[in-house]
Structures are given as C-alpha cells and as structure tokens.
Amino acid sequence: MFDSLSTKLNGALSSLRSRGKLSTSDIEKTCADIKAALLESDVALSVADSFIELVREKSLAALPTLQSGTNQAQAIFEIVNAELIEILGGSARRIRFTKNPPTVIMLAGLQGAGKTTLAGKLAKFYLDQGNTPLLVASDLQRPNAVTQLQVVGESVGVPVFAPEPGNGVGDPVKVAEAALTFAKSKLYNMVIVDTAGRLGVDQELMQQAINIRNAVNPDEILFVVDAMIGQDAVRTAKAFQDGVGFDGVVLTKLDGDARGGAALSIAKLTGQPIMFSSNGEKLTDFDIFYPERMASRILGMGDVATLAEQAKKALDSESSAKMEEKFARGDDFTLEDFLEQLEAMSKMGSMSKLLGMLPGAGAMKKQIENFDESEIVRTKSIVQSMTPLERQDPKVLNGSRRARIALGAGRKVQDVNSLVDKFSAAQKMMRQMRKGGGMPPAMAQSMGVPAGMGAGPISSKKVQAPVKKKSKSGNPAKRAAEERG
C-alpha cells in the first residue's frame, strides 16, 4: 500500500534534490505536492493540513542551519519521514497480557473489514508463541459467520466456542459471557471474541457491542479497519471510539495496492496505536505493525527490515548457517542450494509481496504485479525431479536425463534446458559476486526477479536514511542484496 503516495513523495522530493540549493518557495511547493499526494491517498483533509503545517515549520526552521543543497533536501526528507512515523503511532505496542488469565481480546469494526479472518490470524499468531487461545463466535448476524469461524479455527488448530448457530439466532452477549466462564474453567490463557460487523451510525448495534464489552471486560478492544477505506475512516473511527471504544487498530488487506492514507488519519485522530497488519488471505499473512517500516515504505525506501526478518524466519537457522559457511568457504553454488533458496522463498510467502518490500519497488509496480508466482513452483518441480548427482553437477545432464526429468516434472524438455541455462548463469554470477558486487541482475532474473530489482534504492539512494540491519541474511543472494542496499 501507499505505493502511489511513495511515488508522489519521491517525485516531490527528487525534484528538490535535483535542484541542489533550496529556497523557501521550494519548500512551499514541495509542501503543496505532498499535500496533494496525501489527499490522493485518502488522508483526511484536516490531517493532511496539519501534517503539512508541521513539515513546513520544521523545514523552514532547519533551512538556515544547513550547508549544502543535498543535505537540505535530506533534512526535509527526514522531517517528512519523522512526521509520518509520528502520526502512524510513534512506537508500536504489543497486546497487554492480563495478570489474571485469560487475556480477552475483542474485535470490532465495519461489515466486511475482515474481522473473522483476522480472529483466526490472531489466534494462530499467539498460539505459535505458546499461548492457548479460544475463539468465540459472537457474530450471530451475518449468514454463516459462525461456520466461517469454525473452519478458520480448525485450520489454525484453535478451538472455537460456538454454542449458537448464528444466522440471526442467539444472543452474542450471552455467548461472549459463557465463553469467558468456559475459558476460565478450561484454563485458556487468551480469548478472542469475533463480533458482527456494524456501522458507526447504527445505535442499536453499537449498544450491542457495548453490551458485549461490558460482559467480558476485554483487555484489548481492537478496531479492525480495511486499508482501502476512504475519508469515512474519520467518522467511523470516531463513532467506534465514542461508542464501544478501542485500544488499538488493525489494518487489513494491506496486500492490496490501496495507499492506506486512512491509517494516518485514524492514528492521528483517535490517538490509538496501529498494532497489527493483515496482508493476505493465508492465515499466516499477519504481522505486528511497524510504523517506521510503513513510513519508509511511504517514502519509497522499501521495507528492507521486514524482508530481512522474513528471510530469517524462512531459512531455518541450521540451513542458513550451513549456507553461510559454504559461501564463506568458497564452495560452489549448486542446484541443491538453488532449490533450497526457492523453497525458502516460497516459505517466505508471496513473491510479489516480497518484491514489493524492496527499495525502489514503487517504480517497478507493474512488473511486480505481473510476476508469475507459478514460475517458482515449476522450477522447483524440475529440480526435484533430478537425482542428487544431477543437482550437484548439472554438467552430467545429457539428453536422456533431461527427457526423464521433464517427464517426472510434467514439463517440456525446453523448460529443463532453460532452467539449466539460467542456473549456470546464476552460478557464474555467484562466483563473481563472491569477489564483491552484490546481486547481479542476471542472478535476479534467473530467479524470476525483474531486472534491476536487486539494485537497491533507485532514486533515493543518496539521501536515504540509514536502514537498520539487524542481522545479515544467511541466504547469499539476499545477503549480498542487503549489503549492497
């Protein structure tokens, strides 16, 4: 999300950069450009106005204290960045666990915001951290919302408390109440209450949400909001805040291309932190919300931190250590390694999502969207049809071996040929890379990455704020890309 905002901000700021020395009128013009970008991104007018006011003030104040043009542009860039982080929530907050379990989390939001799916993601997220969550079906309104939660619960392996069939039958307040008693008796340490979607203007249903709240006294009420929401975010967020109230915000459908400016408005106007982001249809497509990352994404600096973290998660420590060792030792990059990398990549989740996090990705939007995920699957199936010897030494691949592999993988011989060619090129690049230089374009392309993707920030390179590198990836290609970026 925020793609277009980042494109526009990049535009506004790069015209500043190219000018060198700045004047106050440059700052005025940039402020106007940034404001237009914010409005285009669904930021509420009042929030956009106050944002611009702050940027202008701080920019003007900083102007005389700076020496050269580049530094001045960078200063403004950093001011915009800092203000964005400020509005997005300053620092992320985690769920507060109660001292007397269960910790009760209640979800609230408009119809269609994605609460039920989110309930499942949240349950999985905390289950994986060793908690014992219980899901509670208190949406008795929407047809088959209860069934949906049951299916979701089953697929993440979390029990669902659903004594009522829903579809208009049953009292959601009583269900929530009974769930709490049940959770206490069975020693669940976390209760996640899914509720029906409701409009901010629907007094009756808002009262019902208040009744649910009063019945279970939640430790956290999370307001779930679709990242695609427009200006109504302000009215709706206020209505929920004044109605049932909430302690944190969850943004959903962040895998879309909505600019998500509403997130800025909600955080600014309600003062509540955005805590989680939901970014895909898989139940693992979920993460803590990082304001800094989002801000750098807005500014087109790419989300390298998230990428590194996902890479780390995906490559289990053992295999990544092995890979690193190998790389350090100067061993050759084999098809075996290639396969391992592909597997890690598919473990890391959707490729296009991943690519979207890379610096400069905004400029490559079209290519990224057209990226063919199934390419990886196809490549994988070919490598998997090879014997260990063949993977170790592709030179043995004669015609009959290639035919056998094609048959096994259900592909054409040409596909096998082209993979072997790509791999040889990649291997050659890897050898060169060892001598320094980063992820060469051909390597990136051989893995289906559009040309230039490995090349780091495109326009913001010089003035980019330093990106914290927590750890270096064990994946040589990734690591090289990180080191370079």
Binding site: L110, T147, M228, I229, T236, G256, D257, R259, F371, D372
Partner: protein, 279 residues
Amino acid sequence: MGIFSKFVAKLKGESTADPLDWKVLEEELLAADLGPKLTAEILKSAQGLKGADALSSLTQILNSHLSIKPRALSDANSIGVILVVGVNGTGKTTSVAKLANLLHSSGNSVMLAAADTFRAAAVDQLQTWGQRIGVPVISGKDEAEPAAVAFDAAVAANESQVNYLIIDTAGRLHNKSDLMAELGKIRRVVEKTLPVCEVLLVIDATTGQNGIAQAKIFTEAVDVTGLILTKLDGSARGGVALAIESALDIPIKFVGTGEGENDFAPFDPESYLTGLVRD
C-alpha cells in the same frame, strides 16, 4: 441548513449572513471521497456559476460526471447471466442475494451459483440466502474449481431455462494477477454455454480512491458493465463511485442500504448526488 442548500443560496445571492466559503464545499466534496481531481474539476465549474438557476446548474455539474450508459440490467434475449465480482468483503454475496430477491419477487425465475469456493463457509453463506429468498443455489464439492462450478451452473441454468443466473465469486484484490486471470477463466467457461450479459462490480461505499484502481483493473479483466454500490446506509457517501463513473464511464446500477434482502434498489441519481454533499 445543509451544505447543498447553503451552496445554492449563495449562488442565488440569497444568503449574505451565512457566506459560504469555497473551502467548505471543497472539504465536503473531498470528505465524500470524490478525490482531489474530481473535486477540483467540480469546484472549477461551480465557481463559474451565477444566477437564479443555480440549483439546476449545480445539479448539472454533478450530473455531467455521471455516465450516460443505461442503468437497467441489459436485456438478455434468453437467459440473463450476471457475474458479480469485487475485492474482499465489499458485499458481493449479500448483493447477489438481494439482486436475486429483487428479480425473483418481480416474477423472474432465478438461479444462483456459489463460485466462491475459496473463503471459508462462503458456499454455506450463499445457500443460507438461497433458502431465505427461495431460489436454487448451484454449488460444487469442497475445493471445487470456481470455473467448474460456474460451468455446471450455466449448464443447469440452460437446462431449466431460468430467466437469470447470478454467479457469486470470491473476493479478490485487483493487484493479484493470478486471481484476476481466474475471473477471466470463469467468464470464458460460462460463455461456452451462455453469454454473460452483465458483470457487476461491487464497490463498498466506504472505499477511498483505491476504488478507481479496482474498477479499472476489474474492467480490464472481465469487462465490468455496472457497479453495485453497497453500505450506503452508513456514514460513507460513496463518492468514489462518481469518480469511477466520471473516469471510466461505468454506471452504478444498484445500491445496497442494509443487511436485509430488501435493502437494495436500482440506482437513483438524484438521491445519490444530494447525499454526496449532505451535512
């Protein structure tokens, strides 16, 4: 006094005590999700207005941004096949049921197809609706291909010669090219048996400027013929639909105003346009 009437009074020169700032109109149009571009266009034409026929002039300005394409369902010579598409959670399934109810209660035979085989319990959801409004629902086995379900439904609709077949599809974000391709496939497969006469894109009234990208890309994939604008019963005014009409010439055909099967009506331009600038 609502902003609309304040504005009209201002243009007529009647309102001196309560002068209207252009800024206020701009704020209102932006707050309605018309977007900065359309807002600027409308302001520009409005500022050129003068005289006693201000109300009709203003209505004309807004009207001029509406599509002139017909808003009724296109006349199908045989069976009207309607494909309902959109991003996740906009109200597709509910709208399928509401539209079926509208057609059914005006004397048509209707069949539904549950081609959302992806989201948990989506098929059950449509079946529940089918029972409620008394129309048959064609569904596939678990994990069936959506295109296969749509194909079977087209064959069944053809055999039983119903007046309308309405196909519910899974919510999908328009930036996922594989899922958009799947939608194209559903359409092609249906058209082996019956032509698709309407592709209705469901837009949630709370949607911001992203709605334009949605409309654009869904149209590229399956040639959208109309919009269903849902959730107009909330505080959102659904101005992005006007931006879509203006930019892409796709008419709003129906509006959804609640969760019940009767909370649905053919689009009425006048109430929509005045609703955009209500206070």
